[in-house]
Symmetry: C2
Subunit: 246 residues, 2 copies
Amino acid sequence: MLSKTQVKYIQSLGHKKCRDEEDLFLAEGPKIVKELLSSKNITIRQIYAVNSWIRNNPAVSVGVSEITEQELERISQLKTPNQVIAIVEKIKWKDEPDYKEKVSLVLDSIQDPGNFGTIIRLADWFGIKQIICSPNCADVYNPKVVQSSMGSITRVQIEYTDLLHFLMKNKEIKIYAAKLEGISITKIGKLKEGFIVIGNESKGISPEISNLPSVSITIPSNGEAESLNAAVATGIILSHISHSTL
Amino acid sequence: MLSKTQVKYIQSLGHKKCRDEEDLFLAEGPKIVKELLSSKNITIRQIYAVNSWIRNNPAVSVGVSEITEQELERISQLKTPNQVIAIVEKIKWKDEPDYKEKVSLVLDSIQDPGNFGTIIRLADWFGIKQIICSPNCADVYNPKVVQSSMGSITRVQIEYTDLLHFLMKNKEIKIYAAKLEGISITKIGKLKEGFIVIGNESKGISPEISNLPSVSITIPSNGEAESLNAAVATGIILSHISHSTL
């Protein structure tokens, strides 16, 4: 049985301000909670689960409180609550990221949580270990991002920083800027090092970043659609620079 | 001023059953309505718009009723209604599709409207002119599909049919089935003809389709994510078979 205070506290972690104050976030559903339980760099503070989840997961070494379906519905951030919610400590990465001899993603104002989560999952698929985000990107601990990244947030290191300052500080590393015009991604070949910059879907890459010395790369079109979804474009770019046969 | 009957009628077109009975669908927002107005194969029955849209679009040759923001909110299917709603006749394609010397997409149980709309937009981007869907795919006239396809539904011919029957009838055309194991898409080269089959995100391609003679194709991973979003996977596949440098 959850007290009113507990319900309020868990609900409050749906808001970025409270997540930042508490250094915690929420993760929901058996699949993601299972991934978090098996991640070395993750500390789960508390699990709230319905009876069926508890019976299926008898060996969990973290505190588990049994709740009813009705209680789950009250504390869930999802349209369709799914058995279990975990309160999790924000990820503390041990190593300072190193950008040399690696491909890193740089996200300029990706604000849709679903797109952002999908991009994190894509980075994980293609073995990209780090994403640098402008401060106005969606919050990686937003419940929708956690959900759509499908556990990949435990494997991809995400930082928020002023992009102009960051890119100028690391100017020995080449910038590849995704644009509507540029060199076809089919002609880039397999990349060993670089920052791939993806811009906001409607506004593209911001002018200050666009003005930095960079290679413009593009996805050639044979048709008439005006643009591609930012997550889809990221997937296409990563697939070509990861596995090109050039 | 809209009557109660009008409001009810427009709202009813949010449901597939009513769309099928009336042979109509809804399109919302200035961008999509503009695309529809300029499409040759589209007949708009009626436009409902707020004053600002009407002032910006003085030369529209279709019946336009001015409505208030409050009325728009009542008839809109979107979370954030956007100036204009059109009632549109379902698209009548003049030509029987021909699958020879063309690449066509075949969708097996793509049920998420957002994914489906994104796939239609991707097909349009890469110059794919036809999509064959299993009957349980999302409805192309679902407001969310219309929305996320961004006008591409006017350029990509979409049919619903029994896939097994369809593929067996057209068995002279090679099937490329997207799977977790198979030939890397980087090794397929540019395709001139074929059916690219994309399966349901969680269940994949259904067994009966999977058993047909086909080439299994896959997107190689360097990382640990378990799977890719169906729309993202479609984008990556289409980009490689459209522009491969092999």
